[in-house]
Subunit: 103 residues, 2 copies
């Protein structure tokens, strides 16, 4: 799954520091899958860039295997063409959902 | 303050849907200032793009007037050159800090 990321990619999720490198990103994605989060919905909103670097804005949703939505949010992905293939250099996301009522 | 944003800009913060348009973004920034959040620290990490569109990755911190840090996070800003000036088209951010322990 992590092969879509460059070796030096960063996964820039919410409520955690950046996860750096394809290997670490692969482990993070593996944890999601093990937690039963196997349905990913992605919708591209807009794209800017060149034939070497693209920035994509979109909307995302995550759901469990049985269809329970656990996340709805936004993403920005920076794509880089490496060896003729588009790979993800930065994968940035946040949530549209309110913060849990911690206090 | 909002003049750095394009008319059709989007402020894509965490735990809320996108805030669309310079006027609405200006009101959102005004609310932060009224809440006493007046210190903004920004550090550019990397920039990609052309002389018309740039994507910037960085780190941010927000603090109150008296220096209390209330946010530490990451951002991606998409800059567009409009009428000879660089303006913000997308302002995307999330937090490095853990979620409040809601449950």
């Amino acid at each position: 799954v992590a092969d879509i990321y460059t070796e030096d990619a960063k996964l820039l999720g919410s409520h955690a520091p950046a996860i750096v490198g394809k290997k670490n990103i692969g482990m993070a994605i593996g944890s999601l899958i093990k937690a039963g989060i196997t349905q990913v919905g992605l919708k591209t909103i807009e794209v800017w860039g060149t034939d070497e670097i693209l920035t994509e804005e979109g909307e995302l949703s995550l759901a469990t295997r049985d269809g329970k939505q656990i996340e709805k949010g936004k993403y920005v992905v920076i794509w880089k063409k490496a060896d003729g293939h588009w790979k993800i250099l930065r994968d940035f996301s946040n949530s549209d959902l309110p913060l849990p009522s911690g206090k």
